[in-house]
């Protein structure tokens, strides 16, 4: 499909400006010569009509959650309620400047304050900061809090324990936090090997980062022992909340002994993924860690009946972003929690766990599970047995697209020997039994195709707007802007095909 720049025609425009452009003022009187750009920055010139058509067409090349099943394990692709979008676009919120006087933004502050209280109750934690903009951002914030806690106590520690099954952001965040990453192997049941953990945990280790249920979708029943081991050596327990969708109303990380928790509001709490964000990765801590939270936080003065921004004090780790939070995301989260209530939250987790186990039970005959036990809200199977037909998990995923569904997560998690060629399915509570049955049928069909017609899979997808991409060429050519492409124009030979509707 043509790029927007290829639709540019001189003289076209898609904007409107007021009549009064202060023509009586000369720009040279305002700005010094060294500052003014010699030429205009050449962007593009396109009418509003053509811009709307361009992006409308582009959208049709995407598959969205409202199109159908999107079972990405670890991403919690659940339905995004439309009323929440409406409420987040109210003008009193969207035009609120972050530095507006506190008395003018009492509504925003009330929502942030109330959300804090709700999340504390849902997770068994004492206080949340709304600052982090994403899960990984939250991880970094949490790790910096852990670091400051130990530095403040005159106890300098250098290591962080992270399970081999952990999401890549965990070790990456620990490294950004200045810690040496020590990997803890999983046992044959898919959970943290307690013996190895006990050997590795020492007084030079800040603690353990744990996702529970873990990245393979299994609840780690060793959690009580894990708590003893880590706390026993004065360490802290960090909870990666990516998989909270399996725990709402069932168990709370705070009760399980976690000291720090991050939540992905764009996962568990229904805010839209937007093609890769924005979300929010709020961080909750037990009371000993409250002094280290980023600044500022929202507080309430009961005498004056006013909300206000409170400076977190000198033990705070500082700021991790400008201003306060991804407020629009907080609002949608708040609205979702109010719409669900305690029963709705429990129902969410119960249904997602049943949905995932249902899929597992039906496809495990065709795709060996990574671990043969009941799963949490997501199940992990492998495509290992199809290797002998020359079919990889990647091929299976690509073939699923031909049947009109988005494939599950593939190749994550990856740790030998159990989690290889993985396919991780997370239906979420938003999916109906009929959709699951359809998915199961597709997986069975593909299993058959792998044996009888493997080439169909290795050359899939066939029915999507584009087919398999040459990723090696992308790295080698390094065409990262349209101008890079123009420089290589003579070497390139594309078949420009428009999409048929």
């Amino acid at each position: 499909m043509k790029l927007i720049f290829e639709k540019s025609i001189k003289g076209r425009d898609g904007y409107s400006l007021p009549q009064d452009l202060f023509d009586e003022i000369k720009i040279e009187e305002c700005l010094p010569e060294y500052a003014i750009s010699k030429d205009k920055k050449l962007l593009s010139e396109i009418s509003e009509v053509d811009v709307v058509r361009h992006f409308t067409k582009l959208s049709k090349l995407n598959y969205g959650l409202d199109d159908g099943f999107y079972p990405l394990g670890s991403c919690t692709m659940k339905y995004n309620p439309k009323i929440n979008e409406n409420l987040a676009s109210l003008s009193n919120f969207i035009y609120a400047h972050p530095l507006a006087p506190e008395e003018t933004v009492q509504g925003c502050l009330e929502i942030a304050y109330d959300l804090n209280k709700l999340l504390c109750e849902i997770t068994g934690i004492d206080e949340y900061t709304m600052a982090p903009a994403a899960g990984a951002h939250g991880e970094l914030t949490g790790i910096l809090i852990m670091r400051k806690y130990f530095v403040d106590h005159g106890d300098i520690r250098h290591k962080m324990l992270i399970p081999d099954s952990a999401h890549g952001t965990n070790p990456a965040s620990a490294a950004m936090g200045g810690f040496q990453v020590i990997e803890v192997k999983s046992n044959e049941k898919g959970t943290v090997d307690l013996k190895i953990l006990a050997e590795l945990m020492d007084e030079d280790t800040v603690g353990l980062m744990l996702t529970n249920p873990n990245t393979v979708g299994l609840f780690d029943e060793g959690i009580e022992e894990i708590k003893k081991i880590v706390h026993g050596k004065g360490g802290l327990l960090y909870y990666d909340g990516a998989n909270l969708n399996a725990s709402l109303g069932i168990t709370r990380p705070g009760d399980a002994g976690f000291d720090i928790v991050h939540l992905n509001l764009h996962k568990t709490f229904s805010t839209p993924h937007g093609g890769g964000g924005p979300g929010a990765g709020v961080i909750g801590v037990k009371k000993d860690l409250i002094p280290y939270l980023p600044t500022p936080n929202v507080a309430f003065n009961s005498e004056r009946n006013k909300y206000y921004l409170l400076d977190a004090g000198e033990k705070s780790i500082g700021m991790v972003r400008a201003f306060w939070s991804n407020f629009a995301v907080l609002l949608k989260t708040y609205a979702w929690i109010l719409s669900m209530g305690p029963d709705g939250l429990y129902n969410t987790s119960e249904t997602s766990i049943i949905n995932a186990n249902y899929v597992l039970a039906k496809i495990k005959k065709y795709y060996t599970p990574a671990y043969d036990r009941y799963c949490g809200h997501e199940c992990t199977v492998t495509g290992r047995e199809y290797k002998k037909y020359g079919v990889k998990t990647l091929d299976i995923a690509k073939r699923i697209m031909d049947y009109g569904m988005h494939p599950p997560t593939i190749y994550f998690p990856h740790f030998e020997p159990y989690a290889e060629e993985t396919i991780m399915v997370e239906p979420t509570e938003s999916e109906s039994k009929e959709t699951l049955d359809k998915f199961i049928d597709i997986m069975i069909k593909i299993s058959d195709e792998a044996k009888t017609n493997p080439e169909l899979l290795t050359t899939a997808p066939h029915n999507t707007p584009i087919r398999r991409t040459n990723d090696t060429l992308a790295v080698k050519r390094a065409i990262l802007t349209y101008d890079d492409e123009l420089k290589l124009k003579d070497e390139l030979n594309y078949q420009e095909k428009d999409i048929n509707f």
């Binding site: 920055k41 609120a96 849902i122 937007g274 400008a322 305690p342 249904t351 990723d471 050519r477 990262l480």
Partner: protein, 447 residues
Amino acid sequence: MRYIPNTEEQKKEMLKEIGVSSFEDLIESIPQSIRVKGKLNIPEAISETELEEKIYHIAQKNSNFFLMKPLIGAGAYRHYIPEAVKFLLQREEFWTCYTPYQPELSQGTLQSIFEYQTYISRLIKMEVIIPSIYDGASATAEAALMSLRLTHKNKIIVSNLLHPHYRETLKTYLAPHEPEIIDLPYKNGLVDIEKLKTLLDEDVVSVIIQSPNFFGGIEKLAEISEIVHSKSILLINVITESMSLGILKAPGETGADIVTGNAQSFGMDLNYGGPYNAYLATKKQYIRQLPGRIVGETVDVDGKRVFVMTMRAREQDIRREKATSNICTNHNLNVLATNIYLSLMGTEGIYQLSLLNTKSAHYLENLLLKSGKFEKVFNYPFYNEFLLKSKEDISTINKKLLENNFIPPLKIGEFYKEENLKNVLLFAVTEVLSRDNLNKVARILSE
């Protein structure tokens, strides 16, 4: 519950097919000691109408911001966003989809990111653009970390006129790595270039300069660049008001090695502070040290031009603790918002708008000086933000403005404690303030 299709009946059926007698069998591995006893202590669910009423009610506790014109910027700027931007953004294919790991199902997202990369590259004249870090502050921190990785030295010089939140964030991110952060003071509202010369030594990795700076002043970037590069030090430029790129020289033209920019002005509402979006740009030679996602062009098996995430070997899912950053989910929808916004505004729109912002800001400053109630603090060239010292108590001034439906300017003393900045305000003007609005401001403050 309307968001959860499966009924109790169906769940019972499914449990049977799974082969268990109850749901409890599935969660057996969760110890009883940590189970929630009874129900979570949160309010019972409310209906959609009740929700709407409740939130509208809370919204009323905010001021009626649509009609309240801001005289404040300080890193967040109200600009008019064409309706087409919001209309297109809300298409579910853009709004609800995931990160484009499967390019066959996400060419819409991928192509739009590629277009964004091109637009920003043309605006700032840099070769490689990372389209999304969460915001300008974290992007600047990432740029600093990147510069440390590139040279393995340990001093970073930071302009005192870098946005205070950005400076705080920088300190927070750098704390574990313990480089020395050296303050670069200002003189007359701009970076003190003479002082800068004395601070550059062989342990300095990079110099971070914001322009237009926090006071709105336009730094002498070409001069600074020459001085910094003569010592083989990296120059990091920070932009908090990207609209300034319409009229001001691109940082790529004045020698920036790394650029971070807050893109909020291009299509994002103020939203009480977020989510915004920031780009991080550099030269091709540093590409492997860049954090974050980037999209590149290639072909598919049919020879069609397609777009994919590329250079992934830098990222956390592949490199884990050796990744250039931990960033995963970023602010992608806002990348699309900027893409649509810039497509509508185009070459002329951004240029004209940037001009308008400059002129109207200077118009207001002029009026306020003429009123006799204000005086200049420093004499520096500014883009659309400026400092003025008030003869009257600024709390009274701001109160008057609030009462007359303006979000008041920033009391600069909240961030800068210098004696000569007491009773000083940082004004910002964008195109949302008409000549009438500005005349009214001057009138109110002259009384």
